[in-house]
Amino acid sequence: MIKINNITKSFGNFFALRGIDLQIHSGEFWIIVGPNGAGKTTLLKILSTLSKPTEGKIEIGRNISDQSGIELRSQIGFIGHQSFLYGNLSAEENLTFYARMYGLKNEKNIIHAKLTQVGLYDRRDDLVRNFSRGMQQRLTIARALLPDPKIILLDEPFSGLDQQGIDLFSSLLTSLITPERIILMTTHNLYLGWELATHYAILAKGKIVEKNSRGDMNFENFKILYRKRTGEGN
């Protein structure tokens, strides 16, 4: 379980996040939507321990985020719009590097299994700089899944993908959902990820203005709610 308690993040006089409260349980897939500058990436950075909150605390399982960053990071898989991959290394070398960073045992078997899962096993020896954006994003998923994380954070993961890439990425996202895992995805595109989500939160000007279980809500009603809460369309 992730328990976000009254998180505030400020940069000087500018408040990127104000009083964020959220409880997320295993098996839930949350989408956090909001216009640009709403604070979505800042929230994910705090959750991933890349940034410290100015006020408030985050509990992940039994850990409090700023007490044991290393332990927490070993449970988190992060997928952003940047791949974190090295163009001059092959797909397998990239995963080997990250497997060593995570201190994984039996790394070769894990890497081959993940490459097979994302459909890149046959391209494992190719340099990543020769991969298309879609292939890089699939390899990014393999990288994030290496430590078999309990929490997956996705920051605008569809950014820069063409329609075919989006379809493939969506189907891979489906395969990530398990009852033990928490998935949190930020996006400014309301439609992408909506079908997969179990819960949603709308973020505007650093505040959560609406959060709920998706339940039976259809996409059209969600769009209306989003416009009402943020004063924007999509």
Binding site: K45, S48, T49, L50, S51, K52, I70, E71, L72, R73, S74, I76, F78, G80, Q82, S83, F84, L85, Y86, G87, N88, L89, E93, F97, Y98, R100, M101, Y102, G103, L127, R143, P147
Partner: protein
């Protein structure tokens, strides 16, 4: 401890493998060294007696400026492609990332020096085989201190707009003690001195190396913090 060492080596291995595929950094460092040696070679008449007094300066000018070319590139790829975030998300202490990057930079500089020193011997007709071991020790210690503080300052300057200019501006004042001790001990050795003649300078070099390594490892956390 073994896990920490493995992680440090993983970062160094990644940097070295990446560099040997692209050869971006090493080739520019080598070309710079060659240009420095050739230009200074034009200054002296063949058989000039001043050569031995000038060579230590030429050696450390080449090491310093070529080293800056390498250090400048150290974090550029990581920041421009977002992979620094990938490193920071790994479950390791941040000093581990610093040490991995530092050792990579240190190895690149050593490779450059392994080519630079024979170039100096050939172009300036030096007979320094008898002092090769103590000279190697001085170059090793000087390079270690330079890479230690240079890696930290490279991580600071890479996030600024004038990153190529800022690194030397920040680095040179800090590494003056290292450069001073390295040039002085090289001068003593090239002009017929022995290792025992340079021992006080080598102690200074070693002392600054330890201080720079420890301080940089501790400060790296704050440099990469959001």
């Amino acid at each position: 401890m073994i896990l920490v060492l493995k992680t440090i080596m993983a970062i160094t291995w990644k940097d070295i493998l990446s560099e040997f595929r692209s050869r971006d950094t090493l080739s520019s460092m080598m070309i710079f060294c060659l240009i420095v040696v050739i230009i200074f070679n034009f200054m002296f008449e063949p058989g000039s007696t001043n050569v031995r007094e000038m060579v230590p300066g030429i050696l450390w000018i080449a090491i310093t400026f070529a080293g800056i070319l390498g250090l400048n590139r150290s974090f550029i790829y990581e920041v421009d492609h977002g992979s620094l975030l990938g490193l920071l998300l790994c479950p390791v202490d941040h000093y581990v990332i610093y040490l991995g990057k530092m050792i990579g930079n240190f190895i690149f500089m050593l490779i450059m020096e392994i080519i630079l020193i024979p170039l100096l011997i050939i172009f300036f007709n030096l007979n320094i085989f008898s002092i090769l071991l103590p000279l190697s020790l001085v170059v090793f210690l000087g390079t270690l201190g330079f890479a230690a503080v240079g890696t930290l300052l490279s991580a600071i300057s890479v996030n600024t707009r004038a990153r190529e200019i800022l690194l030397p501006v920040l680095l040179f004042p800090v590494v003056i003690p290292i450069l001073l001790a390295a040039v002085k001990s090289t001068t003593i050795l090239i002009n017929g001195g022995t290792l025992s003649d340079t021992i006080s300078w080598i102690k200074i070099l070693s002392g600054f190396d330890i201080v720079f390594l420890v301080l940089s490892s501790l400060l790296f956390e704050f440099v990469v913090e959001d």
